[in-house]
């Protein structure tokens, strides 16, 4: 098999150039979809017959919760690539994703707590899904803290890669254990394998919001990654040229 494209993708310089071209379009698309999804969801969908208007936080809660888990899995994939092919860009991606994932995880917990108050009458319950989200937050903290504690960049990369891989093996076990332990949370809102139980006028804005948040994550990741590339590759000629060109214009 020809791996040229893979290695090309792993070249910081190539990525920096190509992402610079994509970034404005992705940003515009993310802003448009975010505006559409959230306006539609927050203002124009009918209220829920049980929860009234409070359910509308779902348009923030579900996308952030989705991303919180998805980002950790992406970090583990980046970690595997770092360990197997030693591609520097994968480690940079892992490093840049960690704080974004932490923020989404925190937002998911926060919006969950705000939603829980009118729905369950309390800010926090030790329910399975909340608890596993809290543990996911700890997993994120661990990755960030470990990177901070190690000096050499190469060691940082490989140690964090191992840690995220161990974490990703652990996540289903945690999910399963806390489910066994206690369940109060309503069942999943969306399931891939089943026909959604949600009314279509609520479902569509939710799907748009989720897509918008994914795009937003991509945009933020690219911005962070570009900064990280400039920092780590600061010794190379092309970065110096790029920075000088940027300073002149």
């Amino acid at each position: 098999m020809n791996w040229t494209f893979f290695h090309k993708l792993g070249s910081p310089k190539w990525f920096y150039e190509i992402s610079g071209k994509w970034l404005p379009w992705l940003a515009i698309l993310a802003a448009l979809m975010m505006a559409t999804g959230l306006t539609w969801g927050l203002l124009f969908t009918p209220p829920d017959y049980l929860q009234g208007n409070s359910y509308r936080i779902i348009f923030l809660h579900v996308p952030t919760a989705f991303l919180a888990s998805a980002i950790y899995v992406s970090m583990a994939i980046a970690g595997a690539v770092t360990l197997i092919w030693r591609i520097k860009l994968a480690d940079m991606a892992l490093k840049c994703m960690a704080p974004i994932g932490t923020s989404f995880c925190f937002l998911a917990l926060l919006t969950g707590a705000i939603w829980g108050k009118p729905t369950w009458g309390t800010w926090w319950v030790w329910d399975a899904r909340l608890t596993s989200m809290l543990i996911l937050l700890f997993l994120y903290f661990g990755v960030i803290a470990l990177r901070g504690a190690i000096r050499s960049a190469t060691t940082q990369a490989r140690a964090c890669a191992i840690l995220t891989l161990v974490g990703v093996v652990n996540i289903p076990i945690i999910k399963f254990s806390v489910q066994w332990w206690n369940t109060l949370h309503q069942g999943s809102t969306l399931k891939l394998t089943e026909k959604p139980s949600m009314a279509p006028e609520m479902l569509w804005p939710l799907l748009i919001s989720i897509a918008a948040f994914y795009l937003f994550f991509t945009v933020v990741l690219i911005i962070r990654l570009r900064t990280e590339i400039l920092d780590r590759e600061r010794r190379t000629k092309w970065v110096r040229n790029a920075v000088e060109a940027g300073a002149r214009s």
Binding site: R151, S152, V166, S177, V178
Partner: protein, 241 residues
């Protein structure tokens, strides 16, 4: 002289790699180290006793309240004691250069690591298991829950040594890495805690607890297979830097 040395070299080439022997030697060494510094090796046990005795002081001395909480207290105490002992799992070897010798050994590193973990369990896990019934008595754990407590600790403590070893390996070169070690290890301990205390609680409520134990056993098998590999990889990475 020359021929004598060559003979030695040849003999060594022919001799089989005896990894199991090296692992046993490492276990014996670590047990000796523990027995010759009893003060240090008993620290986690003393800590265990103290943590467990803080709960009645902090919550309530009533028999009914305590007997409901006893399983959880004994388990949390054991978990914290294991965490406390993990810090020194590879630190000593790192400080005196033994870790380098371990990494340079021709024997499979996961096997040697497994030896270190077994020695760690024998010196802390076993002591915690022995202490557990005494603490359970002091906390008025209902009698029918004792077998569940012992069985769950018997499966859970080696699992905690294995899972915690990953964090200990990753933080072996970190100055004052104790808090970081806790942060890395806790997510791995949560399933163990859930099924461990779950088994005891089921027994207190008069229900069957074999399901919990089977899950713990399954996790232990998984830990035995994967943790030594992860620890070995972590050690190589961290010592490289």
């Amino acid at each position: 002289m020359s021929t004598a040395h060559n003979k030695v070299l040849q003999a060594k080439d022919v001799r089989q790699l005896e990894g199991r022997k090296a692992m046993m030697a490492l276990i014996r060494r670590d047990l000796r180290l523990a027995f010759r510094t009893p003060g240090q090796s008993l620290n986690p046990v003393a800590f265990y006793l103290m943590v467990a005795s803080l709960f009645p002081l902090g919550i309530a001395p009533e028999r009914e309240t305590l007997s409901q909480l006893a399983g959880g207290i004994v388990w949390i105490g054991a978990l914290l004691a294991v965490l406390l002992s993990l810090d020194s799992l590879f630190k000593g070897d790192n400080d005196d250069g033994s870790l380098d010798q371990l990494l340079l050994s021709p024997h499979p590193l996961p096997l040697l690591v497994l030896g270190k973990i077994i020695a760690h369990w024998l010196t802390t896990g076993v002591a915690l298991i022995v202490m557990a019934p005494i603490l359970a008595l002091m906390l008025h754990l209902p009698e029918q829950a004792f077998p569940a407590l012992m069985a769950s600790l018997l499966l859970g403590t080696p699992l905690m040594s294995l899972a915690g070893g990953i964090g200990a390996a990753l933080t072996v070169r970190v100055q004052r890495g104790g808090v970081l070690l806790t942060l890395l290890s806790l997510p791995l301990y949560i399933p163990v805690l859930i099924f461990g205390t779950g088994a005891v609680q089921s027994a207190v409520d008069g229900m069957g607890y074999s399901g919990h134990l089977l899950w713990l056993g399954a996790f232990l098998v998984m830990g035995l297979c994967l943790a030594p590999i992860a620890i070995a990889a972590s050690l190589r990475i961290v010592v490289d830097g």
